[in-house]
Structure formats: C-alpha cells, structure tokens
Amino acid sequence: MAGLDSLFGIHAEALRVQQQRMNTLASNIANADTPGYKARDIDFTKVLERAVSDASAVDAAPVAGDMPPGGDDTGVAAATVYRVPVQPSVDGNTVDVQVEQAAFADSAMHYQASLSFIDNRLRSLMTAITGS
C-alpha cells in the first residue's frame, strides 16, 4: 500500500484521525448528562507532529508502515486530552454541548475537505488511465 499512501498524501491518514476525533466528540455529546463524565478531545497538532516524526521510519520500512490492525489508536491515544471546562457543573460533568457541537462540525468539515482531496486525486488518476 506504500504506493497508494504516497498518492493520497497526508489525507488518508487525516481521514482516520478525524474519524476518531468525531468518535470522541460523539461520546462527549452522548454523555452530556452523565454525572462525572469528563469531556475529551484529540489534539490534531500532536497527532500531526507524531506522524511527521514517524514519517522517516515509515519510509525505511514500508511494510511496518501499513495501517495498524483494526485501524486503531497508537498515535491518537497519546494525543487524547481532557477538555478544560468553561462552566464546571456540580455533578462533575465537564461536557459543554455547544462547544462539542462546534468541534464536531469542525471535524466533519475537515473530514469532508480531506475526502474531496482524495476524490479529486482519484478522478485525475482515472482521467490519466482512461484518457477521457
């Protein structure tokens, strides 16, 4: 898959991270009324820094650079942080639904952006292959 990875660039990885971020934000929204629940978020900058620092290692060993089993966590888990509450509540819940919904919309938009980059890349590839 190393060839395809270089074709789609960072966007394939970005899709995966945004998807996990949306999972986390959906958990926050789902637990908006759960006492003691602490809101979490994925720090995209940290994931990106990690991905950049890992990139050279991936190039050296393309087989090991494939998607980890289950498409999961490794870099993302380390970048998961607790949100600092704007208005802490008595029951220990730190979810602010408005903040979470805004973050979710942001994440969805970034997902869509990466998706269109991949889509356009695929289209131009199809044009190159079919010549029409």
Partner: protein, 135 residues
Amino acid sequence: MSSFRIFDIAGSALSAQSVRLNTVASNMANADAVSGDPNKVYRERLPVFQAAPVAGSADSAAVKVLGVVESSAPPDKRYEPGNPLADGQGYVYAPNINSVEQMVNMISASRAYQGSVEVMNTAKSLALQTLNIGK
C-alpha cells in the same frame, strides 16, 4: 469497522434519552395518582446514566442506563375525607412530583436527543460520501 462506532455511540445516547423521556412521561402521568397508603403511592422514577467504554477504542464512550431508581422524597399528605381512597384519618397521599422539574427534565432530554440525531445524520452523510468516493 470503526466508522460505524459513531452510530453505536449516538444510538446509545438516543436510547438513554428516550428512557429519560419515558420516565418523565410516567412521572407526569402519575402526578395525581393518590393512594391511601404512604408506602404504596407512586414514587418519582429517575434514570441513572453511566459512561460505558466502547470495545476497541480507549478514547470514546457510549452511554448506558444503569437502572431506574425511585425517588425517596416523602409523599404529599393531603386531607381529603371525601376521597374514597382516604385512610382512617381522612388523609390521602400524593406522589411528591414537581411538574416544573419534570418539564425541565423533558426539555433537557429532548435537546440531548436532537443533538445526537444531528451527530448521526452528519456521520451518515460522511459515510455515504466516503462510499461514493471516486464515482
């Protein structure tokens, strides 16, 4: 597949909030269900929510209803000697349900439900776009 975990999470929120709406409806419906025995009178029902970890993902959590508990608030004692349910002293007992509290609970539950539906719709449209990639 990991993209469908978001449906599990939002789905668990929908089911938890609908349990909450059901308990509110039950409380409102029984607000005036009096009884002659303070131990047999209807008690306010309250759902207890808990975050439930999702398999295979450390940083997301669904929500589950641990159970529905009954409020320990003492029932209202009313003097209604004409009521056929009244006890020996002419008292009936009404559940101690505050309808304003119930309405607020209902609005909160319905807002949370709407929020999760919105999450599900967004996730669904993104998943469909991903399926149609390159077409």
